[in-house]
Amino acid sequence: MVELDHSFSTGKPTDYNWEAIRDLDRIIPCVAGGSVVERTGPTTAKAEIKVKMGAMSMTFAGTVEVVEADEDAHRAMLRVKSREVGGAGYANADVTFALTDGGGTIHTAAQISGKAASMGEGVVVGVLDGLIQDFTTKLQAI
């Protein structure tokens, strides 16, 4: 299990951010290589993420679901469950947003296996940290 904490700032009101982080059509494309494959419900979607590693790439396909949404606390958890396309690995994560005025924090608890994990935990942490930092940058424009 890899756990990481980040903060983000959008400069927008909390109510706006609250709607945005639960809108899977808007939030999933903020992940580099991420896209919505199909909306399967108001709080669920099939999605995939393509991770480029030079000439090679790995694609993880699965589901994203808003599993918790505490409107009073402006706290929501998105659960990602995915499997490596054409491989035996998986990448799962619980991503918890806690909003404050103009931004908030993100706690990520991820489990990754297969080829990606074989690069070592230090690499996984570094890549995941970069992915989330890039994600927080894109949140500014959401």
Binding site: K52, M53, G54, A55, M56, G122, V123, D129
Partner: protein, 184 residues
């Protein structure tokens, strides 16, 4: 055997011009060290009576780079991956910039070889380079230079948010056999 004075035209038909890259970064083992052929280029070697009267010029099409081989990585490179690398070089690294080298000085090198200095231009960026060319008795010319991509304002390729990078330093290697009887 010293080179015979004359003008020699070189290109992919009788020579190879190759770029070798190495990977680095925490996720380096996910990438490949590459051997990349420049498949469209031409050079003229004007050999004078003395090395100081010798000149070398070269132009290369930066869109003609093709991956010949890749070592390392978590899986081997197939034709699709090699084509993807060439596309990335075109789109993100060299972007079709014209490549031109002109010598500004040639001196006698070791064992009958040549020490060449000059300017290499890639697009609008120009930077001095120096390299040695070895010459054997059969008219074979070999040599190379180690170049820093950033000297030409090129940002080395990086993926996985910087965990996998192409090293700034690349090696350019030429291996040519001077055409027999081509000297004029």
């Amino acid at each position: 055997m010293p080179l015979q004075p004359g003008s020699y035209a070189l290109g992919p038909d009788d020579a190879t011009l190759t770029v070798k890259t190495e990977r680095k970064g925490a996720a380096a083992k996910a990438g490949h060290d590459l051997v990349i052929d420049v498949t469209s280029w031409s050079a003229t070697l004007d050999v004078g009576a003395e090395p100081s009267a010798t000149a070398l010029s070269l132009t290369a099409d930066s869109r003609s780079l093709r991956v010949r081989a890749g070592t390392g990585g978590m899986t081997s490179l197939g034709d699709e991956e090699k084509a993807a690398i060439a596309q990335t070089i075109d789109d993100e690294i060299l972007e079709g910039a014209p490549i031109e080298f002109r010598s500004s000085g040639v001196e006698a090198g070791v064992d009958g070889g040549l020490r060449v200095t000059g300017d290499l231009a890639i697009g609008d960026a120009r930077h001095p380079v120096a390299f040695d060319l070895a010459v054997d008795g059969d008219g074979r010319l070999t040599g190379g230079a180690r170049l820093l991509q950033t000297d030409w304002g090129i940002k080395p390729y990086s993926a996985l948010f910087g965990a996998l990078k192409v090293a700034d330093e690349v090696e350019v290697v030429v291996d040519a056999t001077l055409p027999a009887g081509a000297a004029a």
